[in-house]
């Protein structure tokens, strides 16, 4: 209290006014240029020919099926990676075992590999000329150029998001609270639900949101395994490219705007949760 009332100390502790303001300005200008301006451009382009043109875009069969496919892929991918991410983070943070650093490296792999390669590995494995191709063909199972292939490629690309959010947090939290719960007689599952889960819930939510955003937006890996059949295997990002290549700029930007909107809604949901349960958030971590 006393330091703040003392002007000399206060000015020594904070930067001069011009430094503060130029930092804020740089931050805002950069954000406007790199994020806000393109985002605004997407929405203005989409609305350039009015709402009627938009209606036409979304009444189109191919657009509709692209939206459904994208939501389906995200609805399968996110739970898969949620279960895997929690399990992997739990194993890495709470136990010591041989090959642990190898596991961490492999979780990071999808981040460092180019998405095109991520798609191609599945073609090499499950394509007609691939390792399992003849067997799959003999049993009439479609993976590549169908929903399973798109889900596989998306799962691969989005695999690190949830695990990566959880691992540092769970490592930092250590095992003391779980041990306390267990010594007090809780079962393993109960300890997980009542102790571990509350501790990691915000990181988990954040990981899920990131994973979801990427699952809906993935282009490169999906482009390789999709086959680009309109109305069948086209996801929203691929559909944006197709519409753009057909000079249907309003359509392309309308679908792009919907993708951006879905991302904004997820971010909005996160902010809402943080605001609504702010006190719970404040009690986050060790207390």
């Amino acid at each position: 209290m006393s330091e703040i009332s003392n002007p000399t100390v206060a000015s020594a502790l904070s930067e001069p006014r011009w430094v503060r303001w130029s930092l804020i300005l740089i931050g805002l200008a950069y954000l406007s240029l790199v994020v806000l301006l393109p985002l605004a451009a997407i929405f203005t382009e989409a609305l350039r020919k009015g709402v009627g043109a938009l209606h036409e875009v979304f009444a189109d069969d191919a657009t509709y099926s692209a939206i459904i496919l994208t939501l389906t892929v995200a609805a399968i991918t996110v739970p898969l990676n949620l279960v895997f991410g929690v399990a992997a983070a739990w194993a890495i943070a709470k136990f010591e075992f041989p090959g642990k650093s190898l596991l961490i490296t492999f979780i990071d792999l999808p981040f460092s590999v180019s998405p095109v390669v991520s798609g191609l590995i599945f073609v090499l494995l499950f394509g007609a000329q691939g390792l399992f191709g003849p067997w799959l063909a003999a049993n009439d199972i479609k993976i590549i150029f169908a929903l399973p292939g798109i889900v596989l490629a998306t799962t691969f690309v989005t695999l690190p998001f949830i695990a990566r959010e959880l691992i540092p947090l769970m490592q930092e939290q250590g095992t003391a609270e779980e041990e306390a719960a267990l010594t007090l007689g809780a079962s393993g599952l109960r300890a997980f639900i009542t102790v571990t889960l509350p501790n990691i819930r915000w990181a988990l939510l954040y990981g899920v949101l990131l994973c979801n955003a990427r699952a809906m937006g993935e282009f490169g890996a999906v482009a390789v395994v999709s086959g680009h059949i309109r109305g069948l295997t086209n996801t929203m990002p691929l559909h944006v490219e197709i519409l753009y290549n057909e000079y249907n700029f309003v359509g392309a930007f309308a679908v792009a705007a919907l993708l951006a909107l879905l991302a904004l809604v997820t971010l909005g949901a996160k902010s809402l949760l943080e605001w609504r349960y702010g006190d719970a958030l404040a009690g986050k971590g060790r207390h």
Binding site: A128, F145, R201, G227, R230, E246, A280
Partner: protein, 353 residues
């Protein structure tokens, strides 16, 4: 405090689920319910045929419904011809393929045996219901004075063409340039190689397909001349405005015969042979030939097309791939295989020499 916390995170998950389901339901509800289509065909095609097949598909669906009472939905996939062939080889289930060149369908026959090697004899005109050729698009009033292939090799002329490794159209572009110089120098292969090399030295962007290249040229304003399919050139003028671009017809070009074929393995497994065959046969009917000319392809039965449409196709000397290069598989081997002539003349960074 800690007691209601787990419920909270469950609620968060629940909210996420409800949100996703709600969005899906909203979109589903906003759309009229449609009758399930009894039969679906997948047509895997190349880049510039989007508008053509949209028109053909509507006409054929009408024709088929009148004839059989069955409703047919045709799904199309478009991309660089070579890449599309690769996808079919890797297992993309195309009932029919309608690609840019016979070589790509040959590749499917050769690598996957999904259709017989003699596929090209199964339909009239080498299985090509329409032909096209290669022309130039230049910016309005032709500031660089591009008249013929030789102008493309001059220093300072920016040329835009896709990558022949992935794009069928680009292979026609390349071979047309080669044929022009062969013709001019009385079959001097070495001169042709140097000539084509000089053209590619003027190329700054190699997109994977014709559409990407056209966007590069027309929207991003890269280059002075775009080597293009004739149909794509007309489409570009229609889309981007005749006040922006002009078409230049070279003195000699190549007769491009984009072929169509049924993929036997797919239609036999899916039981779609009859409708797939009818779809391809339909391309040769007067109705389809008219649509073909409207979409800037040269119909091979011009008597069925509108005279106005035909007037857009000036007579130019057209050489064939069989006549000059001994067929697609030979041209493919010599020019576009790994280590082939294209690899020799186009080395990334070669421009800095």
């Amino acid at each position: 405090m800690t007691r209601h916390v787990p419920a909270l995170s469950r609620r968060a998950v629940l909210a996420y689920g409800i949100g996703a389901a709600g969005t899906a339901a909203l979109i589903a509800g906003a759309r009229p319910v449609r009758a399930q289509a009894p039969v679906t065909l997948v047509n895997v095609s190349y880049d510039p045929t989007r508008e053509l097949y949209r028109a053909i598909n509507d006409a054929f669906a009408r024709h088929w419904r009148e004839k059989t009472g069955q409703q047919v939905t045709i799904r199309t996939s478009h991309g660089g011809s070579g890449r599309q062939a690769r996808s079919v080889i890797d297992g993309l289930d195309a009932d029919v393929v309608t690609l840019a060149l016979a070589g790509d369908i040959d590749a499917i026959a050769q690598h996957s045996r999904r259709l017989p090697a003699d596929w090209q004899t199964r339909l009239p005109n080498n299985s090509s219901p329409y032909t096209s050729t290669i022309v130039f698009i230049v910016r309005k009033s032709n500031p660089k004075g591009v008249k013929d292939w030789s102008d493309l090799a001059k220093p300072g002329v920016g040329v835009v063409t896709p990558n022949p490794k992935t794009s069928g159209g680009a292979r026609w572009n390349y071979l047309a340039a080669w044929a022009y110089e062969l013709d001019r120098t009385q079959k001097n292969e070495e001169a042709a190689k140097l000539f084509v090399e000089a053209i590619y030295r003027n190329v700054s962007v190699l997109d994977t397909g014709a559409r990407g290249s056209l966007t590069t040229f027309a929207q991003r304003n890269v280059g002075d001349v775009f080597i293009s399919w004739e149909n794509e050139a007309h489409l570009a003028l229609k889309e981007f405005g005749e006040d922006k671009f002009e078409i230049v017809f070279p003195s000699l070009s190549i007769l491009a015969e984009p072929p169509v074929a049924i993929v036997d393995q797919v239609v036999d497994r899916r039981g779609t042979r009859a409708v797939a065959q009818a779809y391809l046969d339909f391309l040769y009917t007067p109705e389809a030939q008219k649509i073909i000319a409207q979409n800037f392809y040269r119909p091979n039965r011009p008597e069925h097309a509108d005279r106005v449409d035909l007037a857009r196709f000036p007579q130019i000397r057209l050489v064939t791939i069989d006549g000059v290069f001994g067929g697609w598989s030979k041209a493919q081997n010599v020019h576009f295989s790994d280590g082939g002539v294209f690899d020799q003349i186009h080395r990334p960074g070669a421009a800095s020499r």
